[in-house]
């Protein structure tokens, strides 16, 4: 006879046995049995956030930085609905997160009980799988399945909805059989056929202008060495998508940069001139392709992806290779013949546009990011929010080490950076972690400063303050006749805000202050807040207009009518 435990204890025990050591959450009525059991399992460190959205983003950040499942917990009703943005962000960016939500007792379900919501229904489109646990005897197996499903194949979020009475019921604890039959098929990794690999190698050998485009799948599969070897063996230049940034070292002679809406002109031109594109672990989303009908008109595309349904979903594919990015790329490395692409690389160099020098007294994103990089010699992880600063970081920050750039790509969830950086810190406690936000996104989740202090989480917070919701303002300037409707945004005094929380805070207005402030920020043992006051109407250039072709970048702000 095994040990008799309550449902809540079974959840904790199964999490501990699976190696989970951090959970982000917020207690409430329907999840109280879980919180009652939690102190009996000191292996589970609980981080009390200030809003459940932050718990989901923090679990997501933890998952992306650690490569392990991130776990968040919330109560029923509003607790669970507050998780939804974070789950959607994890779903869009294929991040393994398990959310445990309290639910009203089984007898009350469907009666509009206090704090009852149909959490399974609400989260269905933004989760990979969900479980409403009806029987405590199944609980350990459900938790083990959820952890396995979240991480297997293409990762994603999973919800376990846990009625309060099931948390209180007792059952014999049995170590879960793993995985159960129902989940087994989807947990297997497919394997690309040898014929397809040879066909891909033949296309690469025959190409005059081949390119590699690498995405988040390379980071998830840790295929860094394989991708680099493939690039160096063939001489193919490498483009990294927003979520592929840091999958290939910036500064490598074959690295070109980021493609798409805010990609550099030479990167997008390279795509438009390429005759073969080897896409590894990316989904060719609309921010990468621009007008899909005009995307890479000359290229035959070889698409490597773990998710069969992504092959041919957005672009025409000549060869689809379904499988783990690391394994398939390794097989491609074996199959390709060594070659070089010197003429092609020099042709791309000819597409390059020189950057415009800034005035010496102007505090530019370039200078700020250089200072942050230099202060730790690049040995830090950058977590960005969503908007102009996100694009500046993506374009300008010189990433050298794998998986050191974390951002909300697919969902584009403002408010992501600060809580996600808390998760990154717990995954990498000895590394400096910067959360870079705009003044809009920072104000969405700045209450998490209190979490950092209470839980001793060291995050260096940077706010790029231009007094606007900058990316929306830029669109208004370019496409809406400069009508700045509802984009000017007030900020509190961030230095006083830091002081109110009892952490160091600085305001930087000129380049001359940068080195000293960033060094002091890094040297502080705990969280800090640095406000960088930048030009109000700074723009992200170049820009492909929404729905436009990659061949038609906007490189200067439009001239107002009448000038």
């Amino acid at each position: 006879m095994g040990e008799m435990l309550t449902g809540a204890q079974i959840v904790c025990r199964t999490l501990v046995d699976a190696g989970v050591d951090v959970i982000f959450g917020y207690p409430g009525g329907a999840i109280m049995p879980f919180y009652h059991a939690l102190p009996e399992y000191p292996q589970l460190r609980h981080v009390l956030v200030r809003h459940e959205q932050a718990a989901a983003h923090a679990a997501d950040g933890y998952a992306r930085a650690s490569g392990r499942v991130g776990v968040c917990v919330a109560t029923s009703g509003p607790g669970a609905t507050n998780l939804v943005t974070g789950l959607a962000a994890a779903h869009m960016d294929s991040s393994p997160v398990v959310a445990i939500t309290g639910q009203v007792a089984r007898a009350m379900i469907g009666r509009d009980a206090f704090q009852e919501t149909d959490v399974i229904g609400i989260t269905l489109p933004v989760t990979k799988q969900s479980y409403l646990v009806q029987d405590v005897a199944e609980l350990s197996a459900v938790v083990a399945d959820a952890l396995a499903v979240a991480q297997a194949g293409r990762p994603g979020p999973v919800v376990i909805d846990l009625p309060k009475d099931v948390q209180n019921q007792k059952a014999e604890y049995r170590a879960p059989e793993h995985p159960r039959a129902g989940a087994r098929g989807q947990l297997q990794t497919p394997d690309a056929s040898p014929g397809s690999v040879e066909e891909a190698a033949r296309l690469i050998a025959e190409a005059q202008r081949p390119l590699m485009m690498v995405g988040h799948g390379v980071i998830l599969a840790q295929a860094y060495d394989e991708v680099r070897t493939l690039a160096e063996k063939t001489g193919m230049p490498v483009i990294t998508t927003l979520l592929g940034i840091s999958a290939f070292p910036e500064g490598h002679p074959l690295h070109l940069g980021m493609p798409g809406m805010h990609g550099e002109v030479h990167v997008n031109r390279a795509i438009q001139h390429a005759d073969v594109i080897v896409g590894i672990g990316l989904r060719f989303d609309d921010r990468v392709t621009g007008n899909i009908a005009a995307f890479a008109p000359r290229a035959r595309i070889i698409h490597v992806d773990l998710d069969r349904s992504e092959i041919g979903r957005n672009v025409r594919v000549a060869v689809g290779l379904v499988g783990d990015a690391r394994e398939v790329t390794r097989r491609l490395v074996d199959a390709v013949v060594p070659r070089s692409c010197e003429h092609w690389v020099s042709e791309i160099c000819g597409f390059h546009r020189p950057s415009r020098p800034a005035a010496p007294q102007e505090l530019t994103p370039d200078a700020i990011l250089d200072a942050i990089h230099d202060a730790s010699d690049g040995r830090c992880t950058i977590v960005t929010d969503v908007g102009q600063h996100q694009m500046w970081v993506a374009k300008l920050y010189p990433y050298r080490r794998p998986n050191t750039h974390i951002t909300s790509g697919g969902l584009g969830a403002m408010g992501f950076a600060v809580p996600a950086a808390m998760g990154v810190h717990l995954a990498r406690p000895t590394e400096t972690v910067w959360a870079i936000s705009g003044d809009g996104g920072f104000q969405m989740n700045m209450a998490e400063i209190a979490t950092m202090i209470q839980e001793r989480l060291t995050v260096k917070m940077a706010v790029f303050n231009n007094g606007y919701l900058g990316m929306v303002r830029q669109w208004q300037q370019f496409f809406h006749g400069k009508r700045y409707s509802c984009t000017p945004i007030f900020s509190p005094d961030y230095v006083k805000l830091a002081d109110a929380y009892g952490i160091p805070g600085w305001r930087v207005r000129t380049p001359s202050e940068l080195t000293d402030v960033v060094a002091r920020a890094n040297a502080e043992p705990g969280p800090v807040l640095v406000e960088f006051v930048i030009a109000q109407e700074a723009n992200v250039f170049p820009m492909i207009p929404p729905g436009g072709s990659l061949s038609e970048p906007i490189e200067t702000a439009p001239t107002p009518a009448g000038d």
Partner: protein, 87 residues
């Protein structure tokens, strides 16, 4: 070209799995002509059958999405005009 496609799915006999299956169709706003769920003859498994009038690429995308649902055991696509082809 729009054709009639019959999709036959064997899946776990659980409302949550069925709900997810319906979600794939709802989210893509795919026009469904017939939709039925019946016992499969195997304990714990149900047979779902629906008919789509869409082009071949859309039908294929639906099938690929069904393969991703946890609890879906088998998916067969039959195209009326071109005869039945198992995937």
């Amino acid at each position: 070209m729009t054709t009639t496609h019959t999709v036959r799915v064997v899946l776990d006999e659980e409302l949550a799995t069925l709900n997810r299956a319906v979600g794939v169709l709802r989210r893509r706003n795919v026009p469904v002509e017939r939709f039925s769920v019946n016992p499969s003859g195997t304990t714990g498994l149900a047979r779902l059958e629906f008919v789509l009038r869409v082009d071949a690429a859309t039908a294929d995308r639906v099938v690929q999405q069904f393969h991703k649902i946890i609890g879906v055991r088998d998916v067969v696509l039959a195209t009326t005009d071109e005869g039945e082809a198992s995937r």
